[in-house]
Symmetry: C2
Subunit: 545 residues, 2 copies
Amino acid sequence: MLGQMMHQPLLISSLLRHAERHHGEQEVVSRRVEGDIHRYSYKELAARSRCLAKALATLGVRQGARVGTIAWNGYRHLELYYAVSGSGAVLHTLNPRLHADQLAWIADHAEDQVLCFDKTFLPLVEVVAPRLATVRHFVLMADRDQMPADTRIPGLLCYEDLIASQDDDFDWPEFDENTASSLCYTSGTTGNPKGVLYSHRSTVLHSYASALPDALNLSARDTILPVVPMFHVNAWGLPYSACMVGAKLVFPGPSLDGRSLYELFEAEGVTLSAGVPTVWQGLLAHVQSQNLRFSTMRRTIIGGSACPPAMMEKFEDRYDVQVIHAWGMTELSPLGTVCVLKGEQLAWPETQRRTVQAKQGRALFGVDMKIVDDQGEEVPWDGQSAGELLVRGHWVMDQYFKGDKSQLVIKDDQGWFPTGDVATIDAQGFMNITDRSKDVIKSGGEWIGSIDLENIAMAHPGVAMAACVAARHPKWDERPLLIVVRKPGAELARDELLAFYEGKIAKWWTPDDVVFVDAIPLGATGKMLKNQLRERFQDHLLERA
Amino acid sequence: MLGQMMHQPLLISSLLRHAERHHGEQEVVSRRVEGDIHRYSYKELAARSRCLAKALATLGVRQGARVGTIAWNGYRHLELYYAVSGSGAVLHTLNPRLHADQLAWIADHAEDQVLCFDKTFLPLVEVVAPRLATVRHFVLMADRDQMPADTRIPGLLCYEDLIASQDDDFDWPEFDENTASSLCYTSGTTGNPKGVLYSHRSTVLHSYASALPDALNLSARDTILPVVPMFHVNAWGLPYSACMVGAKLVFPGPSLDGRSLYELFEAEGVTLSAGVPTVWQGLLAHVQSQNLRFSTMRRTIIGGSACPPAMMEKFEDRYDVQVIHAWGMTELSPLGTVCVLKGEQLAWPETQRRTVQAKQGRALFGVDMKIVDDQGEEVPWDGQSAGELLVRGHWVMDQYFKGDKSQLVIKDDQGWFPTGDVATIDAQGFMNITDRSKDVIKSGGEWIGSIDLENIAMAHPGVAMAACVAARHPKWDERPLLIVVRKPGAELARDELLAFYEGKIAKWWTPDDVVFVDAIPLGATGKMLKNQLRERFQDHLLERA
């Protein structure tokens, strides 16, 4: 027997309609590529998004068609978020930091029909454009007077002309809530990029969960500045959740330096920001050097990688800004966990609280997680036992877009997605990532996390860089091997470094040996290429024995 | 083109599974019918709910079958919430305050197969039981040693025996999220009660929205005491939303007097409570007479009827407890609006803020509202123009359960539900109920709200009770007529009372005449039966003219 409630699809257009009707005067403020500040209301956002939807239709964009963007965080990008998905087409956000070869591969794979981009990226698009097989229209997201007099892109369209060509008399279509809404590619260290195809349903449910008090805690009293780019996993969903709650939005455009961000925080009364740790380093350096304070900012969401404890302490103790750790991934829309303390933990001593706050956090309602051993059996939630982290839920990817057989990632018969991370979960449900699963060292059936061992080595004054990898061992299968680059002039020897581990970690976690090298190979994003080290040194312990 | 995200149904069982896995140690505390305090964890709640689901299956409860409850707020009632709906059956909460005739009518109409009840209601059920055509099993929600030695109910079962008869090895079934989950009857002043049949989807979406920061603002740091009964529109959804966020739950059982509530608030560290104004009168009287304070309670949700301004001021100014006005109805699961200020309003002067806080609030994302005139045209959101309030959304009823043609309530072609209320909405989106639509006075095409006129009369020291009703008028169609019961000994005359309106209201709203009566007829719940007054006095102005 079915219930007798109204049945409306969960659609992205309903977020915009709600913002327009119930928070119509709320502001959206953008620092533009041109350098000036642009401001308007949700009412105007909604009206212009309707004009844009009509204009896209005249360009032949039909339901399911992909519309690419290469753009900073700004109001026009936001209009594209709503106009494209709201029409039933698919918003495909491309990452301008990728190499032109990768951009061309991705746009071709996605079969983008239209490509909209900020003026910053005109040179990049001019290089890529001739190689794009499917793109029929290129749109420069700029005023008419910003259009280049001369360009290699044939028939380049002006975004503002498109908007001006239409009135806003348009009703958002209704369709199946499982319809694709947006597409984001994740580029691993190996193989081609893989696309994650979100749906309207997954996006709206993610918005609800991410706005909850124990997640990002979003309300109409917030002024949100997403530093995390809108080309990177939907800016953690903030363009959607802000409309859901009627928060003021502030977009930094291309200016992500400490001074520009700080000015925007203060001028617009930002209460909440979100980004990766590296962005905050520049901000904190600026604030510290100028002896400034945050007048209104009280919370910052940090994700992408772990927040260094020193940064967390500085934000909280010195600037009264609460740091909220979050963890997610492209395949998760992105939010999986947020680190917000439970009631009983509020009374814990500070050091104990800080230990919890350094973790990636607990699961939002709507996703579940588990950690499993090599046999796929669940590992206990004791804060010590590590296992591969698996997730499932309403906004977790099912399959990659146009994925081939090698990309069928579903692991067990209950449909859990393997994240590729190794983690512990404590009795309170707080998850802590200890390693990537390909980097973990499996010693006699127990798992040793390489990240901890590297952090300890890096704390030694004689160490410039350290990687810990699995080396084959006759008795234990694998044992940790430390690969170290000494600091210039440092006289550090093997035994001294191994002795440095005493008391810092379980004795059996201590690396079996140390190899000193001149350099550790790094990838394009600065990450250590530990797979190369593994290949080179995998027999080191066998040879030594 | 569909998105490629995991597809899981939105099921009530997933709320319990989340609470068990991620907040397993969180407490559920209940004052029992027996008078003692019972406490256990979400883990135990989940395990016992699984035992109960298996036991219900042995009683022949299949998917879609209705299981009735007549019970206070307590852990066993909570187990029934999850065991019945989680199994795919339908939880039908009956209101013990109804007359036995109504209870029998409702249970028959719902075709309840099992009826579970607290010991308080044994005498009531003994009266009703012989008249119930469909109930096959009666279950007393009590320990074995609490079972009556002798009862007129044949084959009366003991709830704890049912639980003890099963282990908890049970997987919640998966099914269509639109499946019926629960049933609640609303009893209007006319006609038979009408059933609202909620779905799993509507319930889970309502939970998300109601927990948002701008709604009830629920987190794992909260200790929630729902005074609003679980037999009354799902206790405003708190049994579900508490599991979603992992909040501690405290149930008051049958003891709703001020002293009992206050003791529980203090002993259990309650941070948030929810109920109708009358309950808070008793609580405030107790706290005031004993010169007490609230140590932990900081927010109270008030709904059901408008919170008197004096009560709001007392809570906030004297006890530092924030009063949050909410509005809803059985047909809305129940939440439609919550009155939480927007950012710019926080800086307003106190009197202006209080004016907003006295309203019913703004719409949660997931429901929309509009106000319309007699022609169904939308009325402006100016805080002045009144219109009939219509709503639609994910948790708004579509049709009444087994409703006949006379109960087809859908009003316009876009599927808006007419609430039967008349309201204004201001430019910020705050809705304020000014009347019931059947009570509004339509004077020359303009609407005059009877509630305001009654409140002014009630403020006069000589008035004991006042009702304002529409009386027929040759020129204006209808004009307001005031019906007044004087206070004992008061000498109040017509002209004096009408003069009392001067400056308090638009001149043309002033009632045309006053009729003094000895008594105003009241319904069972204490509401004035204004339809009787209308019938009696509808020609008063014509006769006078």
